[in-house]
Symmetry: C2
Subunit: 454 residues, 2 copies
């Protein structure tokens, strides 16, 4: 085996900038709109939600943005993250393809989410903010924000989708270990939550609802701001350190990818890995096929419409032009909780519309079959979200076996599944099913999306 199993970078080689793909796109992405006036949103429209520095990043067209030194100090707790060559999986599949995966599960919270949680907290701390509120589903994002708040001494208050809050008490414990306060959503703490609980005291909640509650709480107090774990430009920006590192690591072993696959929920893991490679593709330095992989039960890119919609259920956020299944769409309770979002990052949606990336959807049983092959060879038990990327990589590797092509496949293993083992239990006991998503469910939700030109 000439390539090592793990390709590391020294801490001194860690990138010191994030990459803003907006600078290199053939046309700029459509702007967000004010939810009331439907006019392009200004920085002030975001001022109650986010600190100035993050709003600037959200709207920036600068190609590179420096990572602050104190953020780099925290990143060093787990970054640079390793790039693995999947020697043992390749052997099992008997494929001539070479599979590489960038592993983000080495972060304290176990996923890529701290890459943006840490700078978000730091910028808020610089502007004197006392507390951050946020939503979380399975808990990956909430625990990442709690970890980051612990690093810079901010309070952290998390609304967790009630169904997950009840089903996954251990993610809540993890948030509390790092000092976070966690509420089930809908909660009795906000007006919107109270309304929903009055309708159904056992309301299971959704990400859209939890966002509404966390946003509602933040806008009422000038020392409190809100933090979002995906979707927005500045979040995808912070995640690009994944792709920047992967570029350096592949260069160390003299490889360029022929195919890059990443799972997409809100789009930040995918954007984080893919955008630096897209830059190189646009510059003519390499020519990888870049492919989004989404769950068949929440097929935002492959079945959603590209139009303006709200980021949350209550309609508090600015309107964003994105692929959406409708802000009122409640996806099936698949195990990949992090991919159950009605929309797709505006930047990923835009790039998809420009034809720069492809998209496919995969049903969850195929994903867990791939995950089992992966765990029994590579060892790591993947989170349910990246099992989609693994299944896509396995498809590609098997196609190479058919064709004899020695393609280089790159993917992101964006987190471990140590807190998602109930999903594996369901799969191993034969109880996991692939539910058909009727087009009528999407059509119904789309009827609630506001009619906006453009």
């Amino acid at each position: 085996m000439s390539t090592p199993t793990k390709i590391y970078l020294d801490e001194s080689e860690m990138p010191t900038h994030w990459y803003n793909v907006v600078a290199d796109l053939p046309e700029p992405p459509p702007p967000p709109l004010h939810p009331g006036t439907h006019q392009p949103a200004t920085g002030e429209d975001f001022a109650a939600l986010f600190p100035k520095a993050l709003i600037e990043q959200e709207m920036s067209a600068e190609r590179y943005i420096d990572i602050p030194g104190e953020v780099l100090d925290v990143y060093r707790l787990w970054r640079p993250s390793p790039l693995f060559r999947a020697h043992r999986l390749e052997k099992l599949l008997d494929t001539p393809a070479r599979i590489y995966y960038k592993y983000e599960g080495v972060s304290p919270a176990g996923s890529h989410k701290p890459n943006t949680a840490v700078p978000q907290v730091w910028y808020n701390a610089q502007e004197g903010i006392r507390k951050l509120t946020t939503e979380t589903g399975a808990g990956q994002w909430g625990s990442s924000l709690a970890f980051a708040c612990a690093q810079f001494g901010l309070e952290c208050e998390v609304w967790q989708v009630a169904a997950s809050f009840r089903a996954k008490p251990y993610r809540r414990t993890m948030m509390e270990i790092w000092g976070g306060a966690v509420h089930p959503s809908p909660s009795g703490l906000t007006e919107f939550g109270k309304q929903l609980l009055a309708q159904d005291p056992n309301h299971p909640g959704s990400l859209g609802i939890a966002i509404s509650e966390a946003v509602g709480e933040a806008v009422e107090d000038p020392t409190v701001r809100y933090a979002l774990g995906s979707v927005l430009n500045h979040v995808l920006l912070h995640q690009t350190i994944i792709g920047e590192e992967a570029l350096l690591q592949l260069a160390k072993v003299g490889e360029t990818p022929d195919v890059l696959v990443g799972c997409t929920g809100g789009g930040s893991n995918f954007g984080g890995l893919a955008f630096p490679f897209l830059r190189e593709k646009l510059a003519g330095n390499m020519n990888p096929t870049i492919r989004c992989v989404e769950p068949a039960a929440c097929p935002t890119l492959t079945k959603g419409e590209y139009r303006y919609d709200f980021g949350d259920t209550a309609g508090l956020t600015p309107l964003m032009k994105m692929h959406t299944l409708g802000a009122s769409f409640i996806p099936e309770p698949i195990h990949a909780g992090g991919l159950r979002y009605h929309g797709m990052a505006p930047l990923v949606s835009h790039i998809y519309e420009l034809g720069l990336v492809e998209a496919i959807s995969i049903p969850q049983t195929e994903c867990f079959e791939g995950a089992l092959q992966f765990a029994r060879t590579e060892g790591i038990v993947p989170a349910p979200e990246p099992t989609h990327a693994i299944a896509a990589a396995v498809r590609e590797a098997m196609a190479c076996k058919e064709s004899g092509e020695e393609k280089v496949i790159l993917t992101a293993l964006c987190g471990h599944g140590h807190l998602d083992l109930a999903a594996y239990e369901t799969f191993l006991s034969g109880k996991m099913v692939d539910l058909d998503l009727p087009d009528s469910a999407i059509q119904e939700a789309m009827q609630n999306v506001p009619q906006i030109e453009g």
Copy 2:
């Protein structure tokens, strides 16, 4: 910060031998005895349990033993493991001490256990063995053996202490992901298990009982062998790659430890880190204080007697001279399941008797207080077992703050706590207590230990 946060070794720098401390001790450890004749056990007495190669290692006095190439290939999935400088914890404690921790939670199973599971399975595979049986408590060892068996195509059958089997279903799922079959112990599958279930259908089980069941199953079939996850010489041998790597890593930053602390249950994590440093100490190359840290509820070294005792409850294993609380001793249900063993590795016990290492015990609430300080600064949520080592490191660092000494403290963070979050929930909710261990409980168990000269 001049020292990096993480000190890595390249895969090409990974040690290719294990270190056998027996070669350098001023006197050899007392031999194990045959359980029937009480005469020194021969290799044949172990032949029904272990493959020849491991029995040779168990009895070897060779200083270095080569690590087979296929074992190194699997080690590379996570090794060399990182050595961290705890910059952020030091800052919180405001100590002049420099704290380093070797992190073994990067392995697929999340602890140091795969370091020995992988070679044990490989040697069994070389001798044509079809299946391995073992016991597990919290599940760290059982999942490590299942992972290793998946790598070399062996079957794996695990008896898990019934109380843990019921309380921690996710560790069982992890074993099943890697293809292991898991039974609660006592089980209806062995005669000994049936007897105990007849007495109490809800028997909580113990490690000693689970060992008896797994051993009983192995000795009946020549294609089946047993694997033990701690205590024995060959297990401690395999773990020495931890200390060998740590020596190389500290040398890279020009440091030698003044104090080395490690948690001790069966002794393999401690021996793995400490023995290579003990070699350097005996050779006069450095002079660290080396200290075992055990739970106050299971104080094998600090309160147990040094005498011959069985490794299991049913009395099937050879007699080993070790610090013991009595093979029938059932420790309090502390959260550090991996430290709840009645005995201590014969090698660690011998070295302790020779005065080469010290020992202290720490109650679990102090351990979890240290763990919370650690998680909120260093990020990683530690397993309950290494919280003992962390608490000891914090004690040492605070003593340095008093004295102004700039000591170098080295410890092993032998696993993460992702599957042990219920323990943190108990601690955070204020429900964790430190139970007094009455001397009478130890005295009672010691009455059952056989009376043997020497």
